[in-house]
Chain length 330, copies 2
DNA sequence: CTGAAAGCGCTTACAG
DNA sequence: CTGAAAGCGCTTACAG
């Protein structure tokens, strides 16, 4: 030791400015020499704070989440908070087990990316939680994400502006709030354009295979349509591939739009026209919001929506003649 | 309380079989009723164990790592261990800050996916660490991953078996152990085939853009070559796209192989022939090994290599005539 | 099989 | 500005 009490060491380390300069230096020197590091467990116990936030997601390996995660991580690191990952794998039991970390004090708050409301009794009073990306149908949990209704409205409007009228919406999986919101935005745009009679959906999903399956339905049952707006990029790519395999030229004969703007959307051929979600920013904003909640700032009311963009690439084209005729756009 | 001491509650919860059945039930009932949960901080402090492993990676958002991460997570969850993520972003300072978690007791051991040796003084004695995927040049740190030398040898041999002789190797980024190993395997295969004079490399990288850049070099300086083996899938896709844009048919006129087998390799056109790495398994095996080390089992000696496979898809074809003529394989 | 007691390493009113 | 002391909530020899 450096000739002072443990109390003073603690003070020198936690609030350097309340001890004398001499003491401070002595302590810092001793720390440097011994390689001392505060014991986090004791600190947590004493402070009744873990300095950790729980991030709950359905699938870590899904790049969509990991990009958001990296935004979360950036802000957390700056705030000197640690991140605890919980992978639910879509299972309620694992979800419940993960939430246990809130009760046992391993985490001070949680960020929910899995779109499910946590059973109320598993979240201790006063522990802040926040949903990200996928809304939770509950007006008590703050939310950060894209305005999916508006983004889907904008995407549909984009196809409309290219002259398409018979636009099919390929939905996401059932029961997902993203599916609902994007579907709602699509219908709103069609109705506003006076095209409610043309509006049609095909039940899809979020995978490439879902898209390929949908392509067959599109070919069999929607011969008069000239464009599809898909609930995400992967399914859009599946639709395009399925169409191509059946000899349909995209966008020459049929336009397809996705949603998300995953990195691969720009590499796929044709490069995918899609809705860009600022995933890194969503993560950052969410973490900043949770940080504020942890510091007892008033909880934000209503969802915080981040800006989205329509990214026009090659999979959509102007509709020149009434049906099945488009031309590649540059 | 349920009429017993805290000592007995602790015993009932931690080692149910050393207390009487009556006591055990009373405790469990009380726990269920009150929603009691042990305080992790106190437990950590008392046991001198965090029940957490630190996972250090250069970029969480990279799907390559997140797949390994999900394997790690599976095993950790089963073992009732928690995962703490550290994102180095390739910065030594962040790396050092993250390693602090080993000294302050927040984590009991670490899994290194970032390919850098930790400064020795930052890893307390007796704390187990393990490198994954990217070897660390040090014989003191156990390793789990793919045998990159052998896998590259096999990949090159695969092209050789298709009749190619003038095969170029597109390397990964400089200074990376994966780059070295894959390059070494390539040369070994060329030498074993008596083709050391044909062996040639182009300095590449791990991104799509790197691949596109390499395609130009390939066209300008390697006109007699008929195939390329790239250090990873992304760069292989970049090479293919660059070649296609210059009017070269892949695999009709030129074959390209990648490495990794990322999900997109099967969606890209042409579907990519590549080396499959069992990333989930690598994560699982690594976590299992660390688990054993944490339980004081003897540390494994030498690297543990997992099986890889050559996945033949559409980007490679049999070489029929000496040069620039291939035929698509089915 | 169970309880009383000590102690893990911090932080923070409380004095001075 | 600093020290002595209490206490955060557990676990585990030690008795019995």
């Amino acid at each position: 030791m450096a000739g002072v009490s443990t109390a003073t060491v603690s003070r020198a380390l936690q609030s350097p400015n309340i001890v004398s300069e001499k003491t401070r230096n002595a302590v810092f020197d001793a720390v440097a020499e011994t390689g001392y590091s505060v014991n986090t467990a004791a600190q947590m116990l004493r402070r009744n704070r873990a300095g950790t936030v729980l991030v709950i997601l359905p699938d870590i390996a899904n790049p969509f989440f990991s990009k958001i995660l990296s935004g979360i991580e950036e802000v957390a690191t700056q705030a000197n908070l640690t991140i605890l990952i919980g992978n639910t794998n879509g299972e309620d039991e694992r979800f419940a087990n993960i939430l246990e970390n809130l009760r046992n004090g391993r985490a001070d708050g949680a960020l929910l990316l899995n779109g499910r409301a946590p059973p109320a009794d598993l979240v201790p009073d006063g522990v802040p939680i926040l949903s990200i990306s996928e809304r939770i149908d509950s007006n008590t949990i703050p939310h950060v994400g894209t305005d999916n209704v508006k983004a889907a409205y904008d995407a549909t409007t984009h196809l409309l502006s290219m002259g398409h009228r018979s636009i099919v919406h390929v939905t996401g999986p059932q029961g997902n709030s993203l599916t609902k919101d994007r579907c709602g935005g699509y219908f709103a745009a069609m109705i506003d354009a006076g095209l409610e009679d043309e509006a049609a959906t095909i039940a899809g999903g979020f995978t490439f295979q879902d898209g390929k399956r949908v392509a067959e339905i599109l070919l069999a049952e929607h011969q008069s349509s000239t464009a599809a707006f898909c609930a995400n990029d992967e399914s859009a790519m599946g639709v395009i591939r399925g169409l191509q395999e059946a000899g349909v030229n995209v966008p020459g004969e049929f336009s397809v739009m996705g949603f998300d703007d995953v990195p691969f959307a720009a590499i796929f051929q044709p490069e995918l026209t899609t809705v860009h979600q600022a995933r890194n920013l969503i993560g950052k904003r969410a973490m900043e919001t949770l940080l504020a909640m942890l510091e007892n700032s008033p909880a934000p009311t209503g969802p915080a929506f981040l800006v989205h963009d329509i990214v026009t690439r090659q999979s959509t084209a102007q509709l020149l003649e009434p049906q099945l005729t488009g031309r590649r756009i540059e």
